[in-house]
Amino acid sequence: MSGYDGHMRAARVVNEAGGMLVGRTRLQKVVYLAQLAGYGDEFPFEYKHYGPFSEDLAGDMEIAAGLGMVREEERRADWGGRYSIYTATERTPSSEDPARSAFIQAAAQIDPVALELAATAAFLHENGWYDREKDGDDPWVETARRKPDKVGNGQLERAKAGYKILMALKTPRQLPHIV
């Protein structure tokens, strides 16, 4: 559990993203990268086949939506899956740290497939989950190996470009140098 006010922290992300955040993938990966950049550490993440994921964050966001701290609307995507749109309500906690908000807004601008790839590469690097010798110290190789259906059409390059933008931001902790 993420602590006493996990649902409030989860809801706050929506305001930090500018009042709206599209998608559970974005929510998860944005918070993962923000924590990696030194903005908090309240949500523990583990690896799933869709990249770094926090059960606590997912559960806390569900509580926040249930209590009306954010509004969640689920829509069907053209590709057949479903995605959520989170919007702030009058009960959503305000953002407190402008630098963190700026980081979250920048991360939320990245398309969700690229964001998933970038968060995955960062996670693999952080946890040493790739073969440094074989892959030339490049976690993107393992990322591509794990997500062959998501790296085509220039997505891997877009993920690296998005990650580079985040790396250029001044953050409490430097994001890993993987691009």
Binding site: M1, T25, K48, Y50, A77, G81, P112, Q155
Partner: protein
Amino acid sequence: MWQVIQTPPFQRLRRIRQLGFSEFVFPGATHTRFAHSIGVFHVARQLMRVIERHIRAAGNLRYRDSSAHIALAAALVHDVGHGMFSHAFEEIGGKLHLPLAHHETVSERLIRDSELSEAMRPLGSGFANDVAAVIKGGKPGDLYHSVVSSQFDADRLDYMQRDRLMTGVESSRIDATWLSANLEVASVNTGADEMAAGSVETLALGPKAFQVAESYVLSLFQLYPNVYFHKATRAAEKVFAALMLRLVPLVRQGDVRRTGLPVNHPICRFAKEPNRLDRASALDDSVFWGAVPQLMDAKDAVIARLARCLWHRELPKCFDIRLRLEHDLPLRAHATVAERTLRNAEIRERCRQIVVRIEAWSAERPGSTSPVLIDQAARQPYKKIQDSRSLLNQILIRQGPGDPVDMAEVSPVVASAETFEVCRAYIFDGDSESNVMLENIIGTNIKGDPDVRL
């Protein structure tokens, strides 16, 4: 594969029970991870025949024996890294930052670098690494891998039947024959949030399996309250975890003699060198049970008390916090979905606030021989709050000539089933102080405390 089964890491699975402490509740549940692993291999071969049939019928694809062999080997060795009492040990690993308490990490390392990799060598130089990658990735992104990791993977199909049989619970029966007979291969799109990515092939069900699929979802779900989350089983797991959380730091501090164990005991060796694979794989249920008589003689009173609890099955009593809140915050008759959602959110949040307070109270009495043990867990009947709701994460069913759809789209039973959650405190016999504390905290929370306003 016969040579793989003969290796020490695989034979070790004979000494790890599939359901850990469940035999405290279901005396027949003494089956091992060894039996389960053999069963998974058997089911995986059946599923692979479905894939082979599909590929050969399609005509334009080639059935890849090598990919099939890798997936089947992964099915056989998927559990080889489990530690003593499986998931209870993983909880300890999370709290003490022991990477080798995580079974997938140990599995991967054993497959890459142990007698297992030696036994796999005749199958090709990179075979063991490929098997390890399937287990590590945990992704249903490849049709062959779907026998190891999907909604109808061989692991689940085996443990659902085996655990039901060995515990003797009469619910949770699945029609595995009909499910297998109606499995098909389908191509599904992948993506993240609103954005499409590509497509992959995976297993889906045909239209005749609709009711059986509904039953499968509910059967799996019901195993959680009935078996896996049983209050007595969980009490034993929590006692085991508390014991290890006390023991490991003592060993690390050089206080081994207070534990009752000799310095060279496998548990002490692991505590001292938790990143060594041989230390981790030297642990199993038998090693622990063999240590308990010595732990009961420990100079450390907490270890001695907890060891006695397990040896004599004198488990702490369950105080069901969530049940109490549900009783005190009743739902009106014919409540709407929105009202149910709000109440569930309130109860979850109140449970968490209560747990935070119990933990704060417990922190003020470190070293108590009657610790209050907390158990929080949740199981969704059908995963809804994963990442994007990708079709790969769902049970797919084809209802007509078109593409398969998510089961929750077409089954109101599956769509409306609510998450099963537990929030419990375990209090040792005669610990009236903790009982009073708990009543006070819950009473304050229900009446409304300005500090815990939702």
